[in-house]
């Protein structure tokens, strides 16, 4: 029996579409109802999660869709995973839900164990954990850590704040509120709160009308595909982009306390870069004493063939901060330098300092992944799927351009001719029984769960073939 068969004996064997449109009539009614009180205009359909199982999401009209989008890449182990359901019913979870602690002031007796279970999955070289609530929050907490670290290195870790710093900060002015920057990359996505939106460079609609910090932006490598045919050109592209980073460090008017980067730019279009590009970036951050923050919000937790996407780069030394959210359900960051913990209490602090209910779930998710060897299995399924998609790409070269994510497990994407064609493709796929997501202007991204297996891949490939052949 495969892992998905063990988890989900009742998982459907095929999608079933029973309405002539998606959203169907009942979804439309419920979207309208919810829309009276909650901005619901983006809803694709209304889901019945009690009926959804494994890799299949069920909507209120009874449509059963193979889900390779998985709540924008955030469902790790399939719907109604029985192991997670057990955890959800445990005394520890009930306690975490009803007696939610302010973990900074009144940590629970079981926090060491809960945090320990999360840390068992920490990226190589990371020792400490700080918890937040979502990806944007995790990244902004990491920025705060980077800014406090930068100033503490300048001031001396144990040095006192100056009088000038203490008065100016209350007016939001330097030197107490210094002008420091975080460097990010073109097409990056790191969240939508004010600092995270300042480093997000994906689409204007994510940023318009919001005041932003004037922080620098470097170029992310834009490779030619297939990679094997363009090694020289892509190497040159790496060098070009690293030179831009170096130039910014030398010329930006304010100190750059940290650099944030995704192992694979996801919202921005599934843009990949080589291990040597990332090592080059690591070297530059060391040279300029800036922290390297790896944003693993979408790439983390097993979907790219490693538990964390950047582990494949074998960075030396390890990244300074690694942020996570989405498939881990919990959010926060890992780090390894004890001086990244602020020198005084109540600096990296807030009411809840995370949520044990979500941390317990993260620990359980990590345990299931290890127990069932799901990183390796997902990697194998990804290889199989990629080979099948490569055949389709040969058959439909216009509709499947720049197929990418080879040897990145199921973290696969490709590009269509236009945004309109991409959107039509996504809609057609739903009617063919597959819930699938897009990214950037004209790309399609696959973000299935870690219980997605060859049999699911076959259904997906068949549906893509059917949709594209009708065009």
């Amino acid at each position: 029996m495969t892992v998905s068969e063990q988890y989900f004996p009742q998982e459907p064997t095929a999608p079933k579409v029973v309405t002539s449109t998606i959203p169907g009539p009942e979804s439309q009614r419920k979207i309208k109802e919810l829309g009276q009180v909650f901005d619901e205009r983006h809803a694709y359909f209304v889901a019945d999660y009690t009926k959804s199982t494994g890799n299949y999401i069920v909507d209120v009209d009874g449509n059963v869709l193979l889900d390779v989008y998985a709540q924008i890449a955030s469902i790790p182990l399939g719907y109604n995973n029985p192991a997670l359901r057990e955890v959800a019913k445990s005394d520890r979870m009930i306690r975490a839900i009803i007696d939610r602690p302010a973990q900074g002031n009144f940590p629970g007796a079981d926090l060491a164990e809960i945090a320990g279970d999360v840390l068992k999955a920490a990226p190589k070289g990371q020792k400490f954990l700080w918890s937040g609530l979502c990806g944007a929050d995790a990244n902004e907490l990491a920025f705060k850590a980077a800014f406090m670290y930068y100033q503490s290195q300048k001031r001396g870790y144990n040095a006192e704040f100056s009088k000038d710093e203490q008065t100016s900060v209350m007016a939001n002015e330097a030197p107490g509120a210094p002008e420091l920057a975080i460097l990010s990359f073109e097409n990056a996505f790191h969240g939508r709160l004010f600092a995270s939106a300042s480093v997000t460079r994906s689409k204007p609609i994510h940023k318009l009308d919001l005041p932003a910090f004037k922080w620098p932006k470097a170029q992310f490598p834009a490779y030619q595909y297939p990679l094997g045919d363009h090694e020289d050109a892509n190497k040159k592209e790496d060098a070009r982009c690293l030179a831009i980073v170096e130039d910014i460090f030398q010329n930006w008017h304010a100190p750059i306390a940290g650099v944030i980067i995704e192992p694979i730019q996801s919202e921005g279009g599934d843009n990949h870069a080589s291990a040597s590009f990332f090592q080059g970036l690591r070297d530059i951050t060391l040279k300029y004493k800036s922290l390297l923050i790896i944003d693993e919000v979408q790439t983390g937790v097993g979907a790219t063939g490693a538990f964390w996407g950047h582990e494949k780069f074998n960075l030396s030394p390890a990244a300074d901060i690694v942020t996570f959210s989405k498939k881990f359900q919990s959010a926060g960051y890992f780090y390894n330098n004890p001086q990244i913990t602020p020198n005084q209490p109540y600096r990296q602090f807030n009411t809840w300092c995370g949520d044990p209910a979500r941390m317990i779930l993260a620990g359980a998710i990590a345990k299931e992944i290890v127990k069932n060897d799901l990183v390796r299995k997902t990697s194998d399924v990804g290889d199989y799927l990629y080979a099948e998609l490569a055949k389709l790409a040969a058959k439909y070269p216009k509709d499947m351009q720049n197929l990418r994510g080879e040897k990145c497990a199921t973290f696969i994407a490709w590009t269509l001719e236009s945004g309109a064609k991409r959107n039509q493709f996504l809609a057609d796929m739903k009617m063919a029984g597959v819930n699938i997501g897009g990214c950037a202007e004209a790309s399609v991204r696959l973000r299935p769960t870690l219980t997605f297996e060859e049999k699911h891949a076959d259904i997906l490939v068949k549906a893509i073939d059917a949709v594209l052949s009708k065009k």
Binding site: D39, N105, C134, V169, M170, L208, N350
Partner: protein
């Protein structure tokens, strides 16, 4: 030890709830008095040291055993049991181990929400409308019937800021679409796409610690140091004298001064001000009150200058004898947005009309757009509050408690500026210095009461809604003992 007069006062606290469901019914195993053996205990010290190897514990008071915490009493791992009037920084609404919330936490609906967390914006769950309409929206502030859900108070405030910026830009833009210049400049974080627009906050305000919210937070240096901030305006918040009824004309003059300064800022500040954010009672900043008149003026002025008014009810919500503290103001026009978190457990903001809804999609958007498990918990909390009329009861408990504290402050002049009259148990008082306040809190903990401070030298009371007269008696006896120890 209680004096005769405070004994009289507290006896009447104990009698207010006879004949109805009380904390004793809900929490049959709640201790009747605190127990403190060794504090801080050896187990707490040892296990915190071990936790510190992976997690920053420098702010921890003690290691808590939530399994042994019941009702208004919090237990630590050494078996100490404290009466808790701090409640996880004002965020536990209905006591520890609340059996009705436990039942809800075990329900299939909660299990579903925990294990199948939806991206609510794109794949909402079939029960989200019911959870919101029967829960949070059933307690919505007057004049508000729309909601956006988030994850924390900071997040709620920042999403409200985003709504304000987008609304104001849309108002100016009218029916026009984004210009090519806006679309290109925004990707460089430059104007006009990323405009120079601001949020005005008040001195001593606390609105969170992410970058937008922290820029409006003006409570303490340590909250802000070394973090880049937006250059946004700050207006003075009235510094009133207490008890309010004894300083009516002085306080009105102070509020007039602040309103005048606010008007000046609206008239002369060189940048756009999209919104004003204000707490009904500045909580972290030291429990600073202002009158309904002051807030009405703020509402009038914001309307006049086309500035949105965001009321931050993160700490005051559910805590002042009404669902929302700004309901005490009787505003002619409701605020534009009201943010919440903490005791509601869920977070987000209420609004009416179109303010929270942009013309274009995917602007107020993120992966999860909230958390149904927390919204479901909020529904359970609101139901319990209504079922047992807990807001009105907290108002009575608080009124009596205020009187007892007033009586204590007569005998101990070091206890000054008692405040929060007619705001249920949302009470605070000052001690002569921050050092004495800190010493008072430590001594209280040793004597079995876990209380919190705020501002420079305030003690703030933030008990849950099952805090009754009998708990007030225990707290008052401890306070009195500690004050005697310190000052007599």
């Amino acid at each position: 030890m209680l004096t005769a007069s405070s004994r009289r006062a507290t006896r009447c606290l104990g009698q207010t709830l006879r004949g109805v469901t009380t904390a004793a019914t809900i929490f049959p195993n709640e201790p009747s008095v605190p127990t403190v053996n060794t504090f801080p205990g050896p187990k707490s010290k040892q296990e915190l040291a071990s936790l510190a190897r992976v997690y920053d514990t420098t702010t921890a008071y003690f290691l808590t055993d939530y399994y042994q915490s019941v009702g208004n009493y919090i237990a630590d791992v050494d078996g100490n049991k404290f009466l808790d009037v701090y409640s996880q920084i004002a965020s536990i609404p209905l006591g520890y181990s609340n059996p009705k919330l436990a039942e809800l936490a075990r329900s299939p609906q909660m299990v579903n929400a925990i294990v199948n967390r939806p991206a609510l914006g794109v794949f909402p769950s079939t029960d989200y409308y019911e959870i919101l309409s029967q829960g949070l929206l059933s307690a919505a502030p007057p004049g508000m019937d729309q909601i956006w859900t988030t994850l924390s108070g900071s997040d709620a405030n920042e999403c409200a800021f985003k709504a304000a910026f987008m609304h104001q830009a849309a108002r100016k833009r009218g029916d026009a679409s984004f210009t090519a210049e806006e679309l290109s400049s925004v990707m460089l974080n430059q104007t006009p796409g990323a405009p120079v627009s601001t949020i005005l906050s008040f001195s001593k305000g606390f609105h969170g610690r992410l970058f937008g919210s922290l820029s409006t937070t003006r409570s303490k240096e340590i909250h802000k140091l070394d973090i880049p901030a937006f250059d946004w305006p700050v207006a003075p918040f009235p510094q009133l004298r207490y008890p309010l009824e004894e300083f009516i004309s002085e306080n009105r003059a102070e509020e007039q001064r602040c309103i005048l300064e606010l008007t000046q800022i609206f008239e002369t500040y060189p940048k756009d001000i999209a919104a004003v954010i204000v707490e009904p009672i500045q909580a972290e900043g030291g429990d600073n009150h202002a009158s309904a008149w002051f807030f009405q003026q703020v509402r009038t002025l914001t309307k006049k200058y086309n500035v949105l008014m965001i009321v931050d009810e993160v700490q005051t919500g559910l805590g002042t004898g009404k669902f929302w503290a700004h309901e005490h103001w009787n505003l002619d026009m409701p605020p534009d947005m009201v943010t919440f978190s903490k005791k509601v457990q869920a977070a987000g903001f209420f609004y009416s009309g179109k303010i929270g809804r942009t013309k274009e999609g995917y602007r107020q958007f993120n992966t999860w757009c909230g958390d149904p498990s927390k919204a479901l918990l909020a529904k359970g909390i609101i139901e319990q509050i209504k079922d047992y009329d807990l807001l009105a009861r907290a108002a009575v408990t608080g009124r009596n408690l205020y009187d007892s504290l007033a009586e204590i402050s007569v005998r101990f002049p070091q206890v000054s500026n008692l405040r929060g009259k007619n705001r249920a148990t949302f009470l605070a008082f000052d001690l002569p210095s921050g050092k004495e306040r800190d010493a008072f809190l430590v001594k209280c903990r040793h004597a079995g009461v876990n209380a919190g401070g705020s501002g420079a030298r305030a003690v703030r009371l933030r008990p849950g809604l099952w805090f009754e007269g009998k708990h007030a008696e225990v707290m008052l006896a401890v306070f009195e003992g500690v004050l005697k120890d310190m000052y007599k």
